[in-house]
Point group: C2
Chain length 311, copies 2
């Protein structure tokens, strides 16, 4: 349970990568924006419709090759309530196409409020005698700065609805070390956090050796990835920073175990904006995204070998 | 600029408290839910309409006495995209009533994505040749685990649009110490974070001695509040944990300087659910909220004295 569905999808596709869906308007081909704006005007609703159209094209192109997508909440909130509705519709469309959905929200709060976030993104909410899924993630990224109180409500919901979480440990950005690399009794903050995750994960065991409590570990810090893999063998990694942020496939090889499991590598702009880099007709943006996703898969699989689900 | 508008509002109302708007359906009087459900069914839209109605009643009752409201994003996301629309409408209504709006979202991410959150919650987004405010906060709570990259985009937007942020330092929950109290070179993580905020704040100076980069410091940890106030004289505090979480007015007295400035104390359930505690007719929920807000103001002002804006 928990993160097992993700690992099964990775094994099925033989592809431990996830396509980030971070749809800034600047990334979207003109023909999609023109169509949406002609119908809804240059409004937030028009922007939200353009994003949904763009995302659907990407999902159609990618659903046969990647196991998962990772919509980043910030880029939907940036277009207001209409944008957030497009987040929901994107999740729904991705799930209809069989994709595992990692909602990248980095949510965090104290216990009672974290319960609300857990229900919002991974659970169901009661309204009178009815129940609804407010959003449709299979996993959610979270920030563990508040300690166990902020994580336990998620674990309960993950247990109930068979979901997973990824807690920030070592993030991919240049300044991540300002706090995360500082030493607590000789151990960096990121490793202290990862150790807490390995412990929390014992409450969400998985059948392939990894718990439902993963961590975020940036590809831009390969030594730390190797160290975290060695120390925390039951913790699955979500690995951002590949491609646009500068890391290569070699940098993340250490995240994977002998079965080719252990992590999933994200690329957002690299895939979404492949048509710009390729210089192809913008109407072929989804084709370019597919070609980049294949290239990325092949590059990473050349290090990973074969992905096998252990008995 | 920055947090100055909040301090001016505190001085005008002589009330350094903020009413949290965390509208779980369980908190809402039956008559409001019945009306919304009869019109929209027991749906997420019905829930969102009930929450908006409830919030408007609270805002109408409180706008003459409190300087600010703090909607907690989690409780709106819990009702899906319709709930998030109610967050926007709540912010809009509160601003029309002259209230300062602190959006409690505890957002955090790497630079480029944090830019999107900054635009979403404190700035304006371009759609073609138009500009829109996606959401309507005057300040946003954020999590600084990712370091400067995750804060600088906010500072830029705060400078441009005259807004502020509150960064989590010492949170009010029981397990906050698991990470936040651990020592880095003899200094707790929460103090290290607060020190980073004091530094970041130099880029957002204010005219009353406090910068636009505040911190969250829980009322449940009075010794830490006193210590943080002594060490970081230019950092304004958002203080949760009063009332329902168990802290008293005395616990937070140390947050305030000789002018009665330095912090704003939040109460959410204490005010929202005052009608339940009072046992009055639920149709008087807003009246009960008003009476509790007055009681809280008087209790806190008995320690604070008078709030004066320094020349």
């Amino acid at each position: 349970m928990s993160m097992d569905a993700l690992m099964a999808a990775i094994a099925r596709t033989q592809n431990p990568t996830v396509a980030g869906l971070d749809p800034k308007l600047d990334f979207i081909p003109e023909f999609i924006k023109e169509k949406a704006f002609s119908e809804y005007g240059e409004t937030l609703k028009g922007a939200a419709k353009a994003i949904l159209e763009y995302n659907k094209g990407l999902i159609d192109a990618l659903c046969g090759i990647v196991p998962a997508v990772k919509p980043q909440a910030a880029y939907y909130e940036m277009y207001g309530p209409d944008g957030v509705k497009t987040l929901y519709k994107t999740q729904k469309y991705a799930k209809e196409k069989g994709l595992y959905v990692i909602t990248d929200g980095k949510r965090n709060d104290i216990g009672t409020t974290m319960e609300a976030y857990a229900v919002a993104h991974l659970g169901k909410v009661k309204v009178g005698s009815n129940e609804y899924c407010p959003f449709l993630g299979d996993a959610l990224t979270v920030n563990g700065y508040l300690g166990s109180d902020g994580i336990m409500p998620l674990i309960n919901i993950c247990n109930e609805y068979d979901k997973g979480i990824f807690v920030l440990a070592k993030t991919s950005n240049p300044s991540s070390g300002e706090l995360q690399d500082r030493l607590i009794d000789g151990t960096p903050v990121y490793e202290t956090m990862a150790g807490m995750c390995e412990e929390w994960g014992k409450k969400l065991p998985g059948k392939y050796g990894y718990s439902g409590v993963g961590i975020v570990a940036g590809a831009t810090y390969p030594e730390q990835i190797a160290e975290l893999r060695a120390k925390f063998p039951n913790t699955f990694f979500l690995i951002p920073g590949y491609g646009a942020q500068g890391a290569s496939a070699k940098d993340i090889a250490a995240a994977f175990d002998k079965n080719g499991l252990g992590g999933i590598v994200n690329s957002s702009r690299g895939i979404m904006c492949a048509y710009k880099k390729e210089g192809c007709d913008e109407r072929d943006y989804a084709g370019a995204a597919y070609r980049e996703a294949v290239r990325m898969r092949d590059e990473i699989m050349s290090f990973v070998g074969k992905v096998v689900l252990p008995e």
